[in-house]
Structures are given as C-alpha cells and as structure tokens.
C-alpha cells in the first residue's frame, strides 16, 4: 500500500508537466495578449512591458527577426512580420520556448510569477489570499454534502419506495435542479433578511461561512444522496446480506457493517472530482455572498488574458484533482479489498 501511494505521488509530477505544457501552449496560441488594451499604450511602453514579462526575447529577435528591434509602431511590426512570415513564426516559437523554460523554472521553485494584469501583485499573493477562504468554504460544503447526503441516501435505501425514500429523492431532485444563483438568494432571503440568523454576505466569522457553504454543498449533497441510495440498494440485494441476516446479526449492523461499506464505493469515487471542484472555488457562490475566494480569479484571469494567473489556477486545480483522486483510490482500497493494489 505504501509503495502504491509513493508511486502514485511520483506519477503526479509528469501529469502536472503535461497540464502545465498544454495550458501554456493554449495560452500562447489564443489570440490577443495581456497588454492589448482597447486604448493602446505607447509602443515603447508596451515593448518594455513585454520585455519585462518575457513576452519578447531580445535574443530571439536578434537571431530570427533583427529588423524588429528598430520598429516603433504596431503597424510597422505587423507589416514586417507579414513580409517574412517564416522568420516571424520562428521568432515566436523561440520566444515561447524561452518563456516556457522561464515559467517552468519558476513553477518548480513554487513561484507562479507576476500577474500580468495587476502589476503590483504576484500570482502567489492572489493564491495566498484566496486559497484559505476557498478551502474553508469547500470544506464546509463537503461536510454538508456528506452529512446531509449520506443520511438522506441511507434513509432512502432502508425505506425504499416508502415515504421517507420519496421525500429524500424529491429533495435530491430539487438540490440538483435548483441552480446556485437561485438557492443562494433564497437562503439569504429566508435566513438572513427574514430570520436574521446568518449574515447575508462578507467573510468575517464562522457564521459567515454557513450560507455559502450550504449553497455550494447542496447540489453535491443531492448527488451523494442518490449515489448512496443506489449503491446501498445494489448491495442489499446481494447474497451476503441474506447471510448476515441468517447469522442473526441485528438489522442495524447488517445495514451499517455489510451494506453501507459496499454502498459507499460509488460515493467515494464521486467525491474525488467533487472535492477538487469544491476546493477550487465557485464563481457564482463567491459573487452572491461576496466571498474573496479563488473562483473569481479564474474567470477574471481568462477575461483579462492574464496568462500567469490563469495558468496558475489551472495547475492548482490539477494538483487538487490529482491529490483528491489519490486519496479516493486509497480509501477505495480500504473499503474494498478487491481493488487493493499489488
């Protein structure tokens, strides 16, 4: 088991390299750059910015397109590039390789580089500010999802096709169908503005976490409930449950010891990607409750063509997904000896 975990941890790094490379290439290939503003900056300023952020590499220019170094206006550059397309492409690829190496080196040292949009802040600062908030929110959402979902699913399975089952499944259907941007405001209306139990927004104390956590976790709770019910019903039909009853085991133990362990497998498999998604933030919930988490950076970065920030968010997401899936595989191995490795 330990060898399996170590091997899986080592396996994470090549995957991260692929994710990094892929998102880097996509970012470079996508049209538009971080310094293309609607109101153009002076060409000298833009050139200096690009040099500062390694969008331009003097060595590559000198090697492939020396004429570029004397160019003053964007129109001139465009004309020059059109005149010698192959040299222009070679120069871009060269610059890209330089930038790739530079960024990769920074990533290895844990430095995500400067934000291209907010020039006085580094990407690390954004993540350091947003990640704890998102993690707290995500943790609470996972707690809700498991707490509500497991109990509802268990009750539904035990009382299959009777009213507790129908009640739980209708609630689950609602949880899945009602979008966050409806549930959030409704919860605010009822619990903040109506009952005055919880604050409607901001991020200051534990009571501030409750409503956004519930909003974020509700859909996951609904899925967990359905998966628990389905998994349990599948296991309950199996022969060894009859054996357990024939042994003279109390019904409570038949359910908890024999049925639930097998019934949890689909839930655990689902929790891997679900936790990764929860721990990387939700733009909708963060906007509604004015929570300073990671979710908004992702969207802002994409809109602002903030390459470093967007890439950092992608890589951090990938890390969460990989770690969550590793944890899931270990837990599956504990729950089901047949999937144990080696």
């Amino acid at each position: 088991m330990i060898r399996f975990v170590l091997r899986r941890i080592l396996g994470i790094f090549p995957i991260l390299l692929v994710v990094f490379t892929f998102s880097f290439v996509l970012m470079r290939v996508a049209p538009g750059g971080p310094f293309d503003a609607e109101k153009p900056v002076p060409p000298e300023v833009k050139r200096n910015l690009e040099l500062r952020y390694r969008m331009r590499e003097p060595w590559c220019e000198a090697r492939f397109l020396p004429a570029l170094q004397g160019v003053r206006s964007p129109d001139e550059e465009r004309a020059l590039r059109r005149a010698s397309p192959w040299a222009s492409r070679a120069e871009r690829v060269c610059t890209g390789l330089f930038q790739y190496g530079w960024m990769l080196g920074n990533y290895v040292r844990g430095d995500f580089g400067p934000s291209y949009k907010y020039k006085d802040r580094s990407v690390n600062e954004f993540i350091r500010a947003g990640m704890p908030v998102t993690l707290q929110l995500g943790l609470l959402a996972v707690t809700f999802a498991l707490g509500i979902g497991l109990v509802a699913g268990l009750v539904a399975a035990v009382y299959q096709n009777r009213w507790p089952d129908h009640l739980a499944m209708i609630a689950a259907l609602l949880g899945i169908s009602v979008p966050n941007f409806v549930l959030g405001p409704v919860l605010i209306l009822v619990f903040s503005l109506g009952l005055l139990w919880f604050p409607p927004a901001r991020w200051e104390s534990l009571s501030h976490v409750f409503l956004p956590g519930l909003t974020l976790g509700s859909a996951y709770a609904a899925y967990v409930a359905r998966l628990t019910r389905g998994g349990m019903l599948e296991v309950v039909r199996q022969d060894f449950i009859r054996t357990a009853r024939a042994k003279g085991l109390p019904e409570r133990l038949v359910i908890l010891r024999h049925a639930l362990r097998g019934g949890l497998l689909p839930v655990v498999s689902y929790l891997g990607p679900a936790m990764a998604a929860l721990f990387t933030g939700s733009i909708v919930v963060e906007r509604i409750f004015n929570v300073p988490g990671m979710g908004r950076y992702f969207v802002d970065a994409a809109i602002n063509r903030d390459i470093t920030l967007a890439m950092a968010v992608v890589v951090v997401n990938a890390v969460f997904l990989l770690v969550a899936n590793l944890v899931v595989d270990v837990v599956l191995g504990i729950l089901d000896p047949r999937v144990r490795y080696e």
Partner: protein, 341 residues
C-alpha cells in the same frame, strides 16, 4: 399428515415439523398507483418432518420452490400461512430480538459461495461475526474460529485473507464454518455444491456428512440434481411447482420411483456405464414448467404428465379437477398422484 416412517422411526418428536407451508409473493403493477396484480405461489402447501440427525433431501427443478422452502424455515422470507415447529416451538410466532436470538440454533449454507460471503471482510471476521452477534465471543474466540476452519478443511493460517483470494470450494468451506460455528442443531444446505467444480463436489459433500456425524446435525439438503442428494439423504422429497409430489426413503426413490415426475427425473440421470447408458430409457417431459403465477387446476403436473395420455376419460377428468394429496403407500413411500398403487 406425517409419514408413517416418521411415526415408526422416532418415538421422540421430530426436530423440524412443517405443516401446509405457503409462501406467496405478491407482484405489483403500475408505477404510481401500485396494485397487487398477481401472486407467485412459490411454496403452496408443503408438509414434512425431519427427525433429529436425519437428512431430508429436497429436489426439484429451478423455480419449484425448494430454496424458498429452505429460506422460509430460516425465517428469511415472509411466510404466508402454515406452521413451522422447530424443536417443538412455533417458529413463525417469533419475531424481533427473540427470533434473532433463536437463529443460532438453525443456520443455512447458501448455494453461491461467491456471493454469500461479504467481499469486504476477512475470513476471520466472517466466521467470528456470528459468535459476536450472539454474545458468544470471548478470549478464546480466535482459537475457536481457527479450530472450526480447520475442522472444515481450511488452513487456519489463512484467516487474515479475503474471500476473493480463495477458490469456490475453499469459500464454501468458509461458509460451512460460518454456519456451524454457532453449533446449530438444524442446517439447511441450499445446493451447497452446485456452484462448485465437479472435481471438488464430492469433497464438500463428504465434509458435510462427516460434520453431521460428528456434531449430530440435522440437515435439509436442497438440490436440483438427484445424484447429489442420493448419497447424503435418508429420505428424499421431490417438489414440483410449489408442492411435494413424492417423499420416500432415498434408496426406494431410486429403485421404485412412484410419481411420474420422479420417474422422469430418475430417467434423466446418466448412468456411468456406456453400455447401460446406451439402453437407458429416457422419459422426456413435454413443454415447460407452468408459471407459478397460475398453476394448473387439479394435479399441477397433469399438462406434462407422461401417464396422463394413457388414462381413460374419467381418470383424466379427476387429474384435471382434483388436486392429489400426499398418500402413504404400503412401504413407507408417500406420493401425490391419483393413479399410483
């Protein structure tokens, strides 16, 4: 109702008495408004008794209700009507905690050793759990589990392993140890070898016979195959469509099968001698087993009965109208057919 053999053979009361047992399963139709559309008469009026230390074989085709009978005796399926007395006690009146406590006296070995063992438990946990459930654990729990496994032919070193690491035969040995560790007096063996390789069936059958002798067990031995029960059973009951059609001593049922259905079953058993096998007269039954949703009126076997065609009109009418009851023939055989003397 009980066989004359029983009355003669045992002055003491039989360990298990079953009287007019019926297990009907309702079938529901409709998704929103559920209504009872039909009833599957899985077991429909079955009576027998098993003496202490005896093995009663119960044979019949798939779906004839033999497994359901076994499960009803174990109180694992709801019984529609009838009586089950276990050691003189009315088993059907027990419920809840009283029933749970009683369970240690009657245990069941299931057909499929791949499905009947929890794949997420070690062999030790599987065999120890019944003891713990009945508050019979103790400091020597491990020793008792190991010696039971050893007695069932398992190497006790393997108790930390999981069921999927074993072959079918080994798993069935674990299942037998699991059932017998509670020291029950009555064990239902529900086709305990039919899921196993032919090569190891005899081993497991011999083990069951050995354990019965050593522990003084009483067996209800269910099988769909007459050859398997012949050597372990004292008496054999043949079931067809939820009813017993013949109940006779094991040797008799082979030598002189009385019911036409039993005759057909016996004729289907291959003879392990090519020359005799070539001459074997097979009675091939026409058609399928009728649905237990709507069993035929009168004798349930008459639509497929090979003897029916040769009967006269009056006799045929009797088969169609009147359900034959188990009658005691002079030599201890019991048969449910109007036309056997």
């Amino acid at each position: 109702m009980l066989g004359r053999v029983m009355e003669e053979a045992s002055t003491a009361r039989p360990l298990v008495e079953v009287e007019d047992l019926r297990v009907h399963f309702p079938v529901y139709r409709g998704t929103v408004l559920k209504r009872k559309a039909a009833v599957v008469r899985a077991v429909d009026g079955v009576s027998f008794a098993i003496a202490r230390g005896e093995t009663l074989g119960l044979v019949g085709e798939s779906g004839c209700g033999k497994s359901t009978t076994g499960r009803a005796l174990m109180r694992l399926v709801p019984v529609t009507s009838g009586n089950i007395r276990f050691d003189g006690e009315d088993l059907l009146s027990l419920r809840g905690e009283v029933l749970r406590r009683k369970r240690r006296h009657f245990q069941m070995i299931f057909q499929d050793p791949y499905g009947s063992l929890d794949p997420r438990m070690t062999v030790f946990d599987i065999v120890a759990e019944p003891l713990l459930a009945h508050g019979m654990g103790g400091p020597d729990l491990r020793d008792r589990v190991q010696s039971m496994l050893e007695r069932c032919g398992m190497n006790p070193r393997y108790i930390r392993r999981y069921p999927h690491e074993f072959s079918g035969g080994q798993r069935q040995r674990v299942a037998i140890a699991r059932a017998l560790i509670l020291e029950p007096s009555f064990v239902v063996c529900d086709e305990p070898v039919s899921a196993l390789d032919v090569s190891i069936r005899a081993q497991v059958l011999n083990l069951l016979v050995e354990l019965q002798r050593d522990l003084g067990l009483t067996y209800l031995f269910i099988a769909h195959d007459l050859a398997a029960v012949r050597h372990v059973s004292d008496r054999i009951a043949v079931m067809y469509l939820g009813r017993i059609v013949e109940l006779s001593p094991a040797a008799e049922i082979y030598r002189r099968p009385a019911h036409p259905y039993t005759q057909a079953l016996i004729s289907a058993v291959p003879i392990p001698d090519p020359r005799a096998e070539a001459d074997r007269q097979r009675i091939v039954l026409e058609g399928d087993v009728p649905s237990p949703l709507a069993p035929p009126r009168g004798c349930r076997f008459h639509p497929r009965c090979p003897r029916f065609a040769s009967l006269g009109a009056v006799q045929k009418a009797r088969c169609r109208e009147e359900e034959p009851l188990l009658r005691v023939l002079g030599d201890g055989r019991q048969v449910a057919c109007h036309h056997v003397d």
